[in-house]
């Protein structure tokens, strides 16, 4: 790069000064309108006739402190489940979407199976799959049946794998056929073409919706508590039953949001980056 010694003209300096004034102005306006709206909200809520009762049963600091360890312990289960189920569902989704792209009569059964899987598990309510896996499968009394937690995780992986498979497939189909032709013309095999040309482009394109589904999964992993394991929401429920106070739910809710913030932030960032890239074209 050649260093440039550029002295801005008076017009450019005026323009810059004007822009600075405008920026200061908009920050002030934003701060003022936020303050007014916040004040109005606080007045409306705290002035409501039932505010005192609600504050007692939902926002009790002492109960919140007491419930926190249990709820946090439950949340740790959510986190572990989320990590394993997200990885599992991404792997299943990718594998199934790839199986669905295979051409030729040899692969008909594989293709049919993969298609049947996505149809079935996208149609089935998660609760039903969870019950079948956590209550039905142990009922068989087979040797070596994994613990309920693993079975519940498996149910989540299968259901979310079905959704993610469709997201991956949309990505794969969005890569233009001319890219395949270019890769094949270089002598790359079908597999190499998928691995080095199609999938990298496809995954980049569908990263935002994939992450969005992971955020949704985070809220659904707690459903395994229907079968016994104690997650954050279930821990809050137990604490609520003991104290006849709903504050533990609020604690769980806050923890969930805190947990989701980084994930959502990453999703937003990836989406923004994808949009920029699209715009650059």
């Amino acid at each position: 790069m050649r260093p440039t010694h550029h002295h801005p003209s008076p017009v450019a300096r005026q323009r810059a000064a004007y822009r600075r004034r405008q920026t200061v102005r908009s920050v002030l306006v934003a701060a003022a309108s936020t303050g007014v709206l916040g004040t109005l909200l606080v007045i409306a809520v705290t002035g409501a006739p039932g505010w005192h009762r609600v504050r007692q049963s939902f926002l009790d600091a002492g109960i919140a402190r007491a419930a926190l360890p249990e709820v946090a312990a439950g949340l740790w289960l959510n986190v572990r489940l989320l990590v394993f189920c997200a990885l599992g569902a991404l792997a299943v989704g990718l594998a199934v979407s790839l199986l669905r792209t295979l051409r030729g009569p040899v692969f008909f059964p594989v293709r049919a199976l993969a298609t049947g899987y996505t149809y079935t598990f996208r149609g089935l309510p998660l609760i039903i799959v969870l019950y079948v896996f956590t209550l039905g499968v142990p009922g068989l009394r087979l040797q070596g049946t994994p613990p309920v937690l693993v079975l519940g995780g498996l149910a989540l992986v299968l259901v979310y794998g079905g959704y993610l498979a469709e997201v991956f497939r949309a990505g794969i189909e969005s890569v233009h056929p001319s890219q395949l032709a270019a890769a094949r013309s270089l002598g790359l095999t079908y597999r190499q073409t998928m691995r080095y040309v199609v999938l990298p482009q496809a995954i980049r394109r569908v990263a935002p919706p994939l992450l969005n589904d992971v955020v949704a999964l985070q809220k659904d992993v707690g459903l395994v508590s229907l079968a016994g394991p104690i997650d954050a929401v279930r821990a809050a429920q137990i604490a609520t039953a003991e104290t006849f106070n709903y504050t533990p739910y609020i604690v769980a809710g806050v923890l969930f949001v805190l947990l989701a913030i980084p994930l959502i932030a990453v999703t937003d960032w990836v989406t923004l980056r994808a949009a920029r890239r699209q715009a650059a074209r």
Binding site: Q179, A181, R184, L186, G187, L188, V197, Q201, A280
Partner: protein
């Protein structure tokens, strides 16, 4: 006697009911440059794609260096490694840097060491004046630069035969020159090429032989001065007259 690099016999290809190639014959000798001309839709691209085995033929045979490559027992991936093809729309891989676009096949297909493949790629890029673009992504390059990268990418396999499909028609006029220079240099080095083109001036200059495609076959062929200067077939004359009217001769 050595066989021609490319020998096409009685090629037939139809899309639905529309016959695009109809009993087409074409031979290309070593170091020969053949230009395919013809109206839009006359099957130039289809012929090149069939030769590269990107399309299945309905009938006919293609031999490369005497090997029957349209034999169903032949692995198309192995055949394609012996040819290069460049498309009108460049078709570079947008997620890979220029350097990685070029070294993908050498590293993954030919299993060559990365350092060696990259050295060769940089060398080729330098020869076409694109050395400093190696680390850039394709969308940062101009059309002419992208097309030259695409040609380098096709050359890195050391192909016996290079197929070029209207490699200049997506380019602004001032960018055409740099791509044509590159093809001229390739001819000087003895590369065997088949190129589809709408640029009659270029066909005249670079081709040893011009083939006029019409009705799914080679209707008229010969040295450029003869086919473009004094065509014998009425259809060829009509085609060239339209080209002249469009100001492209």
């Amino acid at each position: 006697m050595t066989p021609p690099v490319l020998r096409c016999r009685a090629l037939r290809k139809a899309y639905g009911g529309q016959v695009v190639l109809d009993n087409l014959d074409l031979d290309v000798a070593e170091h020969e440059v053949v230009a395919l001309i013809g109206a839009s839709g006359s099957g130039k691209s289809t012929l090149l794609r069939c030769v590269n085995l990107l399309e299945d033929l309905d009938d006919g045979t293609i031999h490369l260096d005497g090997d029957h490559i349209t034999d169903p027992r032949v692995d198309p991936d192995l055949v394609r490694r012996r040819m290069g093809i460049v498309f009108q729309a460049y078709n570079l891989f947008p997620h890979l840097r220029v350097l990685d676009n070029i070294t993908l096949a050498p590293i993954r297909v030919h299993r060559r060491p990365r350092a060696e493949a990259e050295a060769q790629a940089r060398d080729l890029l330098a020869r076409v004046g694109l050395a400093e673009k190696a680390e850039d992504y394709p969308d940062r390059l101009s059309g002419g630069q992208q097309q030259r990268v695409a040609i380098v990418r096709a050359l890195v396999n050391s192909p016996r035969l290079l197929l070029l499909d209207e490699v200049t028609s997506a380019l602004d006029p001032e960018l055409v020159g740099e791509v044509l220079t590159m093809i001229r240099d390739l001819k000087a080095e003895g590369m065997t090429m088949v190129l589809a083109t709408h640029e009659m001036g270029f066909a005249r200059e670079v081709a040893d032989r011009v083939c006029f495609l019409d009705g799914g076959r080679v209707l008229e062929e010969g040295p450029p001065e003869r086919v473009l200067g004094e065509p014998t077939e009425p259809r060829t004359r009509q085609f060239l007259r339209r080209i002249v009217e469009a100001g492209r001769l």
